[in-house]
Symmetry: C2
């Protein structure tokens, strides 16, 4: 019940006007959840993103992910397509952790790579501008988004 307790405490702080940002203990809880994930799914049509993401997870000493082959085309009708993909995976599988990538908002808003837990809560995320702005390859963009997501919660490369 680590997250539930942490969420309650953080909201009590907000309500009492004494919330002054995230704490190292909270970040450590997120790290532990990801480190201990036994089944990680990436909803995806093909394997390109999965390969890059597993490379990143490996570099940070984290468990490997598997592809979850579901059709996520309709996620683009959602206000946050990346999150919609993550929720589709959550509702159609049993796993501890989902890493999903899709559009951030309306067309033109770029991409969002998001980590959610087994209740659909956001643990961390990384973002990129559209390809037409950054001109990076898909592999490069996914790599950098995943690194951003992990480093912002304090993970460091082990290899």
């Amino acid at each position: 019940m680590a997250f539930e307790k942490m969420i309650k405490n953080a909201f009590d702080e907000s309500r009492n006007n004494c919330r002054f940002g995230d704490t190292l203990e909270e970040i450590k809880e997120i790290q532990d959840y990801i480190k201990n994930a036994e089944k990680i799914y990436i909803p995806n049509k093909d394997g390109v993103k999965v390969e890059v993401l597993n490379k990143v997870l490996n570099e940070y000493g984290l468990p490997q992910a598997e592809i979850l082959q579901i059709n996520t085309n309709t996620a683009d009708t959602n206000r946050i397509p990346a999150l919609a993909k993550a929720y589709m995976a959550l509702d159609q599988s049993e796993c501890d952790l989902i890493i999903a990538r899709g559009r951030l908002g309306i067309p033109g808003s770029g991409s969002l790579l998001i980590f959610i837990d087994n209740k659909g809560r956001i643990l961390t995320a990384g973002m990129s501008p559209s390809h037409v702005i950054h001109q990076k390859s898909l592999e490069e963009a996914v790599y950098e988004e995943a690194v951003e997501a992990l480093e912002k919660i304090g993970f460091e490369k082990v290899i």
Copy 2:
């Protein structure tokens, strides 16, 4: 009706398996919306973030924002507190554009600075890790998130 048409077209592409990322035209539409915003609100308790955000808007030749003084403490019960703050401002004011900043997800997940339009659609965003990770001042973090949000949709500094 520019966004509505663009959203319809983009979804038709997704549904027909021929969506290959955002286009320059889509990014241009988002830019135009922000450039033409007549009333921009920042829901906030104090003026610190507003001052920094107006500095950034000015550097990119964009219209200035105003503070919207509403109590956003309860936003932290939401799954995406930053977005919840933005929606609270949308539902309690009349404006074209809202720039809100809050937590990305659960405690420890860092911060999200989000631009939404007058229908609550996400135009762009910037993110930071928690202060305990990046050790930057609030002003510095907000500045960098706003720059990230504007540059990812192709804006460039004019001064």
